[in-house]
Symmetry: C2
Subunit: 229 residues, 2 copies
């Protein structure tokens, strides 16, 4: 196995073990000596991989992902940049910042001529949707990723407010509003919650008892065969 392949393997290994792993264990898994492992880790860190090692514990890969070398056509790059610009204009601050960062990283490695094209912004994105949420959508996305319950106050279309605990599993971006899709404990059914009507959002660390993907699949099925509203 060539060295460059092994480096990618190393990252995969670190991704699998979420907890700290000792260098010896990694070396065994890859079939190399501990000394070589240290060298490989140093190489990866030199390339920007966020690997952290602590004496007495082991190595952890901070959440993130290394994209291997990848070919994109001109139009594919344009599509990615345009899309990221759109995301950057969304009111979700964390996601917007992430899009901006990603764009900066891509721009940093583009050859000069392409970067000029992109800096010149021949593809423009319109103004952001106007509805502004008072809540941090980043918390919602985090809850979705980790399958945690969310609590909040919801003001429905009629203006009536109610306290909800829900199992969020998807987030929809529409023209003017963002919508949290979740299983509602109160209604015992799937519900959509417009983000601009959510208040006092509270992230909990209670894991909900279903897998996110299963919920998503069920919810999709209900969309195909709509039942009584």
């Amino acid at each position: 196995m060539s060295r460059s392949e092994r480096l990618l393997d190393l990252i995969q290994c670190l991704r699998r073990h979420r907890r700290p792993v000792s260098g010896q264990a990694l070396a065994d898994e890859l079939g190399i000596s501990i000394r070589t492992l240290y060298r490989d880790i140093a190489t990866l860190q030199g390339q920007g991989a966020p690997i952290e090692g602590e004496a007495g514990l082991g190595y952890v890969l901070k959440p993130g992902f290394m994209l291997p070398p990848l070919m994109f056509s001109d139009e594919e790059i344009e599509a990615i940049v345009l899309g990221s610009r759109w995301v950057a204009k969304q009111p979700d601050q964390r996601l917007s910042a992430a899009a901006t960062n990603a764009l900066a990283k891509i721009a940093a490695v583009l050859p000069d001529d392409l970067r000029e094209d992109l800096d010149a912004s021949t593809l423009l994105v319109g103004p952001p949707a106007k509805a502004v949420e008072g809540i941090d959508l980043g918390l919602v996305r985090q809850a979705i990723r980790n399958e945690r319950k969310l609590g909040f106050l919801y003001r429905d279309a009629g203006g009536a407010a109610s306290e909800r605990v829900v199992w969020p599993f998807a987030l929809g971006f529409f023209d003017k509003v963002r919508v949290v899709v979740a299983w509602c404990e109160m209604r015992q059914d799937f519900r959509h919650f417009r983000a601009d009507r959510i208040a006092q959002l509270e992230a909990t660390d209670m894991r909900y008892p279903r897998r996110r993907q299963a919920l998503l699949k069920e919810w999709r099925a209900t969309l195909d065969k709509p039942r009584g509203s």
Copy 2:
């Protein structure tokens, strides 16, 4: 210089020379022997780089770009995927297809757990804007990239139709419409053209006499200090 760095350099060299370059010239530029160059080219082709070599001519890099290894955080990947999904839903067919392809390429190299997250689509994008253009926006983007004139029939807000020849330099994506930003030869001024009011679009191979970036800069200046409409 390590081998992997040199491989990236090779791509940059090929990008610079748009015309076919002989292997010997490339080898000189990189300071390596011709034999090693052949090996490097073979390696790059093995990694998917679209390099073509023809006997008697030289090497050409088909338009496109190789992204070197790059670290993205979870949120950055989410932002890119969400943005690309949005682009994929746009009515511009070529761009939409490019976004879909880019997503497929990214998904192909993601570790399993992350790919599942993305396949499961916890981030959804609303339905595409409804206004459908009868024209191929791909032609417009191509004209912008190559700085070529465009001819078409335009029906303005009042319903009056006119024949235009314009120098397009930007394309705006708004909530419901796409807008071509260009210098209009008839009006001798900057004009915006809603794509859904354009008919009989004709791409020409006439280069317009200004640089795209200069036009863009001027146009931006007019936005800051609006003159008489």
